[in-house]
Symmetry: C2
Subunit: 278 residues, 2 copies
């Protein structure tokens, strides 16, 4: 019979994965188990703390439904999401930086034509957004798919309003022949991530605030180019230095300016990497 | 604005916990985040793999209810439970070794007198179990609380039978004045841990079997002594070398012997550590 102690058990668990057919799965599980065990030994995790961890993860799981993804919030607030995003989206010089996807994207958002108002009734200060989708060499990318989504003046996305039946402050556009796009929406507001669950409890217990600086989400895709998932952040926001999910990049901070005509405008160009870029 | 990349983000997340009032929580989160990030970098986790991980954990969470604890099964099958048990229950020379608690303990099990049958109708080969509860110096420990629970011949615990209303094959006894106890039950069978959920999928994907060697669970407590959570395993079981949860200790393997009278018997003494022992 194997005589395992709290040191030798790690090798035994790694060995138990020796017959894994998928080499990549085996690599991931081996690394995961090694780090998980190292963590438990490093802090000398007690049985009560282990039990509290089981309870915490169970609460996180029970909080997840088709409108709420608490495990993504946990990954976001522990910086894992941004780490994975940054590692997998190295920025070619001149291309737009990526940032976290977040839990509020919805597939099948309504399509809009240039100039239309994607806010669709969401409450906030009206604004106009324009820009271009470009390749690294400055060539316009026509017919790119541009998905945009954002929070309203209350700091809520439409999916956080259970009584709302239509999509608000989200939509899909196509870039024009010169790569251009423009649409109407509302000025984004800073907002707290949902913090009435276990992730909120974790933030409270660590004296961290749940706020994200105001931003517009974009996902931009076009054949031959690497899909870009990013935000445009609003300059001057008080949370730019302490984003709860570590997503801010200075290159993604832009001004919403009020023009002489009293209209608030954002102009921002997106530069896509080619699909073959590493 | 902070310029974080996939290397520097770890320090930023650790710094975000700087204001945690509870020093122990801060220590645990710092180590957890560091190992979590190191894992993601080490395997160069892709966005699709991250997403698969979020889905897996969400499924684990949704599988948990008042009868099923899939996160404990996950911890068990990754060896974390046994690591934590071993680390927190160093065995003084001569004391009984601890092993995993498992997910099938139920508080408030029925009390039995010596000689009574704790199987309470569970199907299996009848047997008699006896032994003593002792201190390290051999002194008997009277009036110790002895909780016992086990699977039946189908490899199921009572809580895995939704239609069953009474407790079966579990009970609470008190040791007598000479530390002794004896009760009737059934011979335990090897059994697969519940593997119709995501943990079972993980085992299948890694060519691991879900079986545990046959065992009786014991939790023994007495004032002045460290509570002992352990099993007695049945010698000769084919899964002793490959327990799905890494819980076997050779000192915990014992014989269920059929006597000349045709009765199957187990005799096993438990030796408790003093409560002050490290």
């Amino acid at each position: 019979v194997r005589e395992l102690n709290h040191e030798t058990i790690t090798d035994a668990v790694v060995q138990s994965f020796a017959g894994t057919p998928d080499a990549r799965l085996k690599e991931i599980l081996t690394s995961l188990v090694t780090h998980l065990h190292d963590f438990a030994r490093e802090v000398r995790l007690t049985e009560a703390e282990w039990s509290a961890g089981i309870d915490f993860l169970t609460r996180v799981g029970h909080m997840c439904n088709d409108k709420r993804q608490e495990f993504i919030l946990l990954s976001d607030t522990l910086g894992l999401s941004m780490l994975v995003t940054a590692m997998n989206n190295p920025t070619a010089k001149g291309s737009t930086e990526a940032t976290v996807f977040g839990p509020f994207h919805v597939a099948g958002a309504p399509h809009y034509k240039h100039g239309e108002d994607v806010s669709n009734g969401a409450v906030g200060t009206p604004c106009e957004v324009s820009g271009r989708v470009l390749a690294l060499d400055g060539t316009p990318i026509p017919d790119a798919t541009i998905e945009v989504w954002q929070a309203d003046d209350d700091g809520l996305y439409d999916v956080q309003r259970p009584d709302l039946e239509q999509a608000q402050a989200r939509g899909v556009l196509r870039s024009g022949s010169r790569g251009e796009f423009h649409f109407k929406s509302i000025v984004p507001s800073s907002y707290p991530i949902p913090h009435d669950g276990p992730v909120g409890d974790m933030l409270a217990a660590t004296n961290r605030h749940p706020w994200r600086p105001a931003h517009l989400h974009f996902m931009i895709s076009a054949p031959g180019y690497k899909t870009l998932v990013t935000h445009v952040f609003r300059s001057g926001d008080r949370y730019l230095e302490s984003d709860a999910v570590f997503g801010v990049r200075s290159s993604l901070v832009a001004d919403w300016n009020v023009g002489d005509d009293g209209i608030c405008r954002l102009n921002y160009d997106f530069v896509l990497n080619s699909a073959n870029a590493e």
